[in-house]
Amino acid sequence: MALTSPIPRWEMVARLRPYWTAVYLRTWKGSVVTSFVMPLLYVLAMGVLLGGFVRGGTDLDGAPTYLAFVAPGLVAAQAMQTATGETTWPVMGNIKWHRSYFAQVASPLDVVDVVAAHLAFVVFRVASTSAVFLLVMAPFGVFSSAVGVLLAWPVLVLVGLSFAGVFFAYSATIRSESGFAVIYRLLVIPLFLFSGAFFPISNLSPVLEWVARLTPLWHGVDLTRMLVLGQVQPGLALVHLTYLLVLSGVGWWLAVWRLNVRMEV
């Protein structure tokens, strides 16, 4: 009478493709501005205009110009912003207002499938915006290594993923959207400003420099910069990669745990 043969997990997750396709089709236009136009403006303002004022010979972590320094920093920061945007308001919306998750778990899908499908969508969004960003930056002559750029692309996806899980868990836990303003101002903006995207973290005081090294975005920025400038330090690169992978795994676990708790109620 009822099915008892197990269906492979990836096939269950794949059942959510029509849903996320529908979501993307109705939201992609807005994402063009936030994920593409804005970072491009940042690059132009910071890299080209401000960069013109930065004296040559300054220590820029090995970058030849300020533009070359800022571009990889900004694309990594953009990965963080995109992932954050997709795992804050949409997650709360799916629980509190649209209740889409409730519709999904009323079907054969489990919470694990719901989280996996949402994170897969985040991966898609970060991958597409990063790819566009990298392609647009290429003609500016700031990238020194083509292989590096190709490798940087999955790294950027990993950066996004490392934020996505943790913020998903946060969004599934808090009850009011005012919690978003708090993490945005106390976490996202400080990370954006002080993770080495705009200036080397060695500019900061020693204490703050070490705090920055503990944060995820610095690892993403540094690794991306290493790759696109063709100046990879294998030991440090491995540290970065491990950090981002571990954070992604922890984030995934937290997200599934918190959504399970929330859907019970």
């Binding site: 009478m1 009822a2 099915l3 008892t4 269906i7 096939e11 269950m12 059942r15 959510l16 493709r17 029509p18 849903y19 529908a22 109705r26 649209h98 209740r99 889409s100 409730f102 519709a103 999904q104 778990v105 009323a106 079907s107 054969p108 899908l109 489990d110 859907m263 019970e264 109620v265």
Partner: protein, 318 residues
Amino acid sequence: MDDGGATDDGRATSLVWARGLRKSYAGFEAVRGIDLDVRPGESFGFLGPNGAGKSSTMRMVAAASAPSGGELTILGLDPTTHGSAIRSRLGVCPQEDTLDLELNVRENLVVYASYFGIRKAEAGRRADELLDFVQLTDKARAKVVDLSGGMKRRLTIARSLINDPDLLLLDEPTTGLDPQARHLLWDRLFRLKQRGVTLVLTTHYMDEAEQLCDRLVVMDGGAIVAEGSPLALIREHSTREVAELRFGVGEHEALAERVTDLADRVEVLPDRLLLYTQDGEETLAKVHERGLDPVAVLVRRSTLEDVFLRLTGRTLVD
């Protein structure tokens, strides 16, 4: 019906089987040990006021929430281990809408169908068929946010049938709807019943319970206080007719003593007196003979509301 759990052979053919089912949330016990046995093809109801534990029970039966204690078998499977398989054979119509407000009516059905692994072409075919069944064909391309409450409910019912379920669960299906919408919904559910779909529904409306349910349980405070068909319950716990008398504000308590011998039972409510008797008109005549002059009178048959009042001392709708 099996009792005491001495013989569990009913369990094998039962669609929903429960013994001592419990559910607790953070120290609060919402469901306090209930027994269930839903037979195939029947229309089974949970009747009770808000907070009785009906929705908590429904969520456990829908394999959406894990029981805190007791045994539960749905479609012959254990929900804690085979939740996904069970849900693939269920249709769920939740109390609060979970429709996608930004998709149109037909898209909602097709997207939901994909969660069950139904291919797009087949989903489209079923969607059109179901939209016809719930009479929403002309609204197929309309945005859900533009629909009225009754239409949204009908769409939710259509959606719950997309996987051709063995068991349909409806949590308060007509709450908040106007009478016309309610009757249309009842009609659709009745047709489903005739097709042989097993229905399990919760409600706090006694007319809904009487119209739709073959058998029901009355729930209050997390426990079952009575069980049986609507007719059997009324016969067992109430008289055939009821005479309702309304006097001035605050007079009912005092006047009750003057009419106790005229009826089998008298209930005092804040706004009226209920005289339970075999013949309402006769009792009414005797009331007038006594010299009492009610502001308004009503003679009606007993309903499940009277059963509930008898068993718990409270009305269904507080």
